[in-house]
Amino acid sequence: MTTEFKVIGTKPIRPDVIDKVMGRAIFAPDIMISGLLHGKILRSPYAHARILSIDTSAAEALPGVYAVITSKDLPQTPADNAELKYSRDNFLAGEKVLYEGHPIAAVAADSIHTAEDAIKLIRINYEILTPIMDMREAMKENSPKLHENIRLKSLGQDNGRPGNISLHVQHILGDPEKGFAEADEIVDREFTTTMVHQGYLEAQSSTVLWNPDGNLTVWTTTQGAFSVQSEISRILDISLSKIRVIPTEVGGAFGSKLRIYIEPVVVLLSKFANRPVKITMTQSEVLKATGPTPGTIMRVKMGAKRNGKITSATAELYFEAGAFPGSTAGGSPRLIFTEYDIPNGQVDAFEVLVNKTHVGAYRAPGDVQVTYSMEQVVDELAQKVNMDPIDFRLINVAHEGSISISGTIHKKIGAQQVLEAVKNHPHYKSPLKEANMGRGVAFGYWPNNGRDSSCIINVNSDGSVTLVTGSVDLSGTRLTIAMQAAEVLGISVDQVKSSVGDTSSIGYTGSSGGSRTTFATGLAAIQAAKDVINQMSIRAASLLNVPVSEITFERGFFTTSTSSSAKLSFSELAGKLNQTGGPITGKGNVSPSSWGAGFACHIADVEVDPETGKVSILRYTAIQDVGKAVHPTLVEGQMQGAVVQGIGWALWEGLFYDTQGRMLNSNRLDYKIATFVDIPHIETELIEVPSPFHPFGVRGVAEPAFVPPTATIANAVADALGKRIYSLPMTPEKILRTMDVID
């Protein structure tokens, strides 16, 4: 492994910042093409209703309206393909609407105002049904069912009865009951959290140009152009080859833009109008009808011996899926308890349907919730056995070779190093004495990810290169990928023009998500750069008149082992490509099967105003194993940004509904994310335990950072109050009620 880096670990300026700071970056709503029409979606005002009839004639007759579509314009779905039916129903409702904001029809018109007027002219007859807004309600035997055809899939078995529970998964290790019998102390708690939105400010927006030959171009804000392409193909039965998706700059995503909400609708509008069409969602539509992270009910029980060793851990986890099956319920049970080496345990996870928008992914999906519950139980258990919370975690921390309850076998990880760094951190050692103040710590893990990535590198005649990947840049990955190529090519990073390709210009690349991009697309770039070097070595050999086996490439020079004077620099050789066989393109296509997990531990100090219940974050430190920080500033930015989002989730955020299923806070005033004045300076410490699965040691960093904050703040608030709040968000009102200041 290379240990002396020239580019990796430096802090060059991101290539996109000038455009972004100056307002010149092209985001999806900026797309303007001549003849552009504006689309608007008619959404259900009811959370649960049967659609009896739809009359679009008045809307169609309105001057300036070019197309009106409903679900009948979608392809026919085979009766046995429930999954496809759910997907299509979420773009344009079929027989029923299942949440407030559920799309029913869409229009394209010559202005947004005409489009807004037109959707008001669409007449719909509803049979209003009882909305199911609460998981406990949904799980009752006699509750109304969202879908008549859904039967519980319990441990892979269909139980035959329709219901609102759509999934049950289970993992068992050892003998949980025996483990509890061996414990000296047991803590058993129940936690609830609400649906939370990712908080990105750029609403979904797509523009589509449908050509009469059946080819179509889509400009959209997404985490992955290829997933938009395949979703349009799946929903509308169109060949992938006819769909070109051009990703724009992205104004925040955090998992929300892995899935699509409007593209197939815009495609159909463009097709029927025979004009390009754009839809940009409003903030209210975004909050009501995109994919938040699920609300949960979580029962967590852990037991430990007096010496601090955890003997058993069990969890029963319920996740709100929203209106359709498919949530983090399947994956989350693999995330809980995985930080620790626990001999016995059981995890059961359930997915429950309710009349809310279908959930999606939010940064470390499901992990935040389960860690929020587990890390509070861990804290209580540490107290019960009279141990420092970090010492307690160090006794139980997972190591290379540890097997989790769900069967994850840890590879080389930096879990212990992170906890030790917390223990030695000045923040952790500092005293915190004043009344109403509290300190909390929490530990978290995210497995990170690999998946498919492609990269090409073209060599320019002056020795600079252009690099194209299929990875949408959410966080500076254009730069972190270019840095890895530059390291291999022995050139400086400003010689690499790095850009994001569209689906017609680069090979398949999975979406930017799961903290995979700098790792996996970085590997593709390394492979492409090596390919460039190999091809250039052949040219060098011919110019230097030696067999290619004698060419070595080091520190930017092609040299021969026979003659020390004969050498060619990268740029010299680049200038001679046209005399030696023509242009060179290096390519990398990877699908790594192993990657390095990330661990993070955070420390928070808070103060609670006993009269108002308001929480102030006084000091915050985030410590994380980042593998190798390709660009330390960007890594710190990921860690700090994660904490900011975690503060919002811990204290204020949640999608709140009335009993009729209408959202009470579908605006940016009442959906409260942290603002700049709500957060302290967030200190960071980067621990570098290199991943063995990447030549530079890179691990994913974005999601591990988001796993601890809510638990950290919950533990700090509990310390300040001397009492624990078992639900999120920990609003001032809830704190006053917990402290018996108000009823």
């Binding site: 204020w652 806070n665 409260k672 004045v677």
Partner: protein, 293 residues
């Protein structure tokens, strides 16, 4: 958003004429920071907007003798940048510095905050304890109304058809007076008050007695309220924690809050007490010159 016409009024008379229209929905626009979001959300659909920002009288910000005059189109930042005002009207300054953020304060007006008549409008309790007067121009001439009578229901004011708020007048507070506005919001900016309380105190020359006192509460009733009973329990008493406690109880019993997504009845009732005491403590410190704005 529905299509609308825009009129740029140059005089009060022109504005009043435009507003006095029986067949069309006509609205004045000052900073537009309440109006435009409401129009975007489809809550208001005016046919005509009358811009009042270019009427010279409405841009006057002056102190003449002991009278402060704030034109209805004066943006908030001009008020808190004027040192003579910040010194004498601390409750008002507390309030307007709370409204939105810097960008909003560059555009929004006190007049708009008042005419919007939100139960939570931050400047209104402050204007009440400063005993502000509203100067109103209308088709039949000018009239004057005490600010506590201006708001009549959520979003409703005492203005009739064709009437325009032109100016807010406030007398200079006497010696030994201090005032304060404070509100509770869950975050630290960009929130609407869950509860807001303004208080002003005038002390005796030797500062041992309260000679005049006003407490006004916001976001806990259909309109911001002057709590006369809270003032009455203070007058004639010494400025002590005990007195603040009595005023807090009086304010709490005047509060008639609702439960909504921003707060519950119990929370708001409780906060009225907490914020009344905090406002009085600060007002007292300001009255004795021990606390700056």
């Amino acid at each position: 958003m529905k299509q609308f016409d825009y009129e740029n009024a140059k005089t009060i008379g022109e504005a009043v004429n435009l507003l006095n229209n029986s067949s069309k929905n006509v609205r004045p626009i000052a900073g537009g920071t309440d109006l435009i979001p409401r129009m975007r959300n489809g809550l208001l659909e005016p046919d005509i907007l009358v811009d009042i920002k270019n009427i010279p009288e409405l841009n006057i910000l002056s102190i003449n003798g002991d009278l402060l005059e704030i034109g209805a189109a004066v943006p908030l930042y001009r008020i808190y940048e004027e040192e003579r005002i910040t010194k004498s009207y601390p409750a008002l300054i507390d309030a307007i510095k709370n409204i939105g953020g810097i960008a909003i304060q560059g555009r929004a007006t006190v007049g708009g905050n008042l005419c919007n008549a939100a139960p939570s409008g931050d400047s209104i309790p402050a204007l009440i304890v400063h005993e502000a007067m509203c100067i109103i121009a209308g088709p039949t001439g000018q009239r004057i109304l005490p600010v506590e009578d201006f708001c009549t229901a959520p979003g409703k004011t005492a203005l009739g058809r064709g009437e325009l708020l032109t100016t807010i007048q406030i007398k200079h507070p006497p010696h030994n007076t201090g005032s304060c506005y404070n509100r509770f919001i869950p975050r630290n900016e960009m929130d609407i008050a869950v509860t807001g309380v303004a208080a002003s105190l005038m002390l005796s020359m030797d500062r041992t007695q309260i000679e005049n006192a006003k407490v006004a509460i916001g976001a806990v009733a259909p309109t911001p309220l002057l709590v006369k009973a809270a003032g009455e329990v203070l007058v004639g008493n010494a400025p002590t924690e005990e007195a603040w406690g009595k005023a807090a109880i009086a304010a709490q019993s005047a509060a008639r809050p609702i439960t909504d997504v921003r707060g519950s009845i119990n929370q708001r009732k409780h906060l009225v007490g907490v914020l009344t005491k905090r406002a009085l403590r600060k007002a007292y410190l300001r009255a004795i010159g021990e606390m700056e704005i």
